[in-house]
């Protein structure tokens, strides 16, 4: 069992315990009326689904203690999976109960108990909307920032109507102490959102930054350099990322995570290299030095460890930025461990930070391999798409143990690279990857 698994297990145990907490509360001092197994199982699914919804707020609150051991991208991916699980549990809850007893269909009839029925209908509608908007956001063309605010509001709404539903059904919530506990748990979950969206931005307001340089890069990318104003800056590990608000307050919905591309040895000037992909990034060229900025971070564990014997970066497109940050930091620290950078990109003119990489590769311990899909005339290096054979020809010998492998790029590219490394016999514990295309 490797160190990262050992670090994750207590958190996973805590998560499962928190998910089962409502069942424990329900089982204490239960009502004397006992029902058949299938009904209690269906009810149990509903309780757990409610707990999972509450826990969703904890997974996305960007708690440094929780984000550090896993990496925020993994937490967000887990959040996505558990969201789908919670939705499935709600569907199971409904189907099992109405199948076991027809009388539960009355819960949906507003001519019976009005509030109970309305809460149930709204709950189902809210959940369906939440799922559809998240899974099909890109296909439906919903802008990220509007999806983000809608997602938070819908999640709060679902939590509220689910709690109302619990109270109106009232089989396991009639004791006063239980009522107080359910309300406290729901408020606790909702307050996590308040912490993430109100308290943390407020704290950022007291640590402003200023844009000092906006530099165009190859491949429709920009490097934005920011410096702290009135504080010491950002202590980060090379390879990490931060949420950035540019020329707007941190409360704004238009904040985005970006990889840091500068050296960790320069906390007083932090650079982000960003590709113009969406609405927000397309406006970066209009940004002027002097604009205010707010930095929330650092996050992520895409970092080289002291015990590693060397590093291999397999990157595609703008995914090269954290690798450049690590290589710059190694140079500034006089770190001479061997490092290989494989950078897959369409053509030299779209290779982000191309000149910086060429400069870094002049060091004896650094090797850079550009892989061009559309190579220039006379190009002697690697060409085509990344695949297992191509990687085999570019990677250092497999016998070199202790090397940490970093994979960052588009989703399909990363799937191919990860699979090739595993086929090569690289242990999964030595492969680090970072993805952000969660919703």
């Amino acid at each position: 069992m490797n160190a990262s698994t050992l670090r994750a297990l207590p958190w996973l145990a805590l998560y499962v315990a928190a998910a089962l907490l409502p069942l424990a509360i329900a089982a204490i001092d239960p009502p004397p009326r006992r029902r058949e197994f299938v009904v209690e199982f269906g009810v149990g699914l509903g309780f757990v689904a409610l707990a999972l919804f509450g826990l969703q707020f904890a997974l996305t609150a960007r708690f440094p203690a929780l984000a550090a051991p896993f990496g925020l991208d993994k937490l967000l991916h887990f959040h996505r999976l558990t969201g789908m699980l919670a939705f499935g549990l709600v569907v199971g809850h409904i189907l099992l109960l109405v199948t076991a007893r027809r009388e539960f269909l009355e819960f949906l009839d507003p001519r019976g108990e009005f509030i109970r029925a309305v809460a149930l209908w709204w709950l189902m509608a809210g959940l369906t909307l939440l799922m559809v908007a998240t899974l099909l956001r890109q296909r439906l063309g919903i802008p990220y920032q509007w999806w983000r605010i809608g997602h938070a509001l819908l999640a709060l709404f679902v939590l509220f109507v689910a709690t109302v539903h619990l109270f109106r059904v009232n089989h396991y919530s009639d004791e006063p102490w239980k009522l107080v506990t359910w309300v406290a748990l729901a408020l606790m979950a909702a307050s996590l959102l308040g912490w993430a969206r109100i308290v943390r931005p407020f704290r950022q307001m007291r640590r402003p930054w200023e844009v000092v340089e906006v530099r165009p890069e190859r491949g429709r990318s920009w490097t934005i350099a920011v410096e702290p104003r009135g504080h010491e800056g950002l202590r980060f590990e090379a390879g990490q990322f931060a949420w950035l608000a540019l020329d707007q307050p941190p409360y704004d919905i238009d904040t985005h995570p970006f990889s840091i591309s500068s050296s960790a040895e320069k906390p007083g000037r932090v650079e982000f290299t960003i590709k113009a992909l969406g609405d927000f990034t397309a406006k970066l060229g209009n940004l002027k030095p002097g604009a205010k900025a707010y930095v929330d971070g650092p996050y992520g564990n895409f970092t080289l460890q002291p015990g590693d014997s060397g590093a291999v970066f397999i990157t595609g497109g703008v995914g090269v930025t954290p690798a450049v940050s690590i290589l710059r930091t190694m140079r500034d620290r006089g770190d001479t461990r061997p490092a290989t950078l494989i950078f897959a990109v369409r053509a030299p003119e779209t290779a982000v930070l191309h000149d910086d990489i060429v400069e870094l590769a002049k060091q004896p311990n650094v090797r850079a391999e550009f892989v061009y899909e559309d190579p220039p005339q006379g190009w002697q290096g690697a060409t085509g798409h990344i695949n297992a054979e191509l990687l085999e020809s570019l990677l250092p010998p497999a016998r070199e143990g202790g090397i940490r492998y970093f994979v960052c790029g588009p989703g399909g590219f990363m799937d191919v690279a990860e699979k090739a490394l595993l086929q090569r016999g690289v242990p999964s514990s030595r492969i680090h990857s970072e993805r952000f295309n969660i919703a």
Binding site: Y15, S429, I431
Partner: protein
């Protein structure tokens, strides 16, 4: 490794959570009681073992 480790953690959590729900349902349920409740008002004969113990 993103997909593998996260998926593994998710599957493990799901299995443990469902096991917890099964344990809760087993602890709380009473199929005979549920049957009685479903047929509230209908005549329910006493369980055989009670009749036997009374006759003894």
């Amino acid at each position: 490794m993103l997909n593998r480790s996260v998926t593994l953690a998710f599957v493990l959590a799901t299995v443990l959570i469902i096991a917890g729900v099964v344990a809760f349902a087993a602890y709380r349920s009473d199929d005979e009681g549920g049957e009685r409740e479903r047929n509230r008002g209908a005549y329910q004969p006493a369980p055989v073992h009670l009749v036997e113990s009374w006759q003894a």
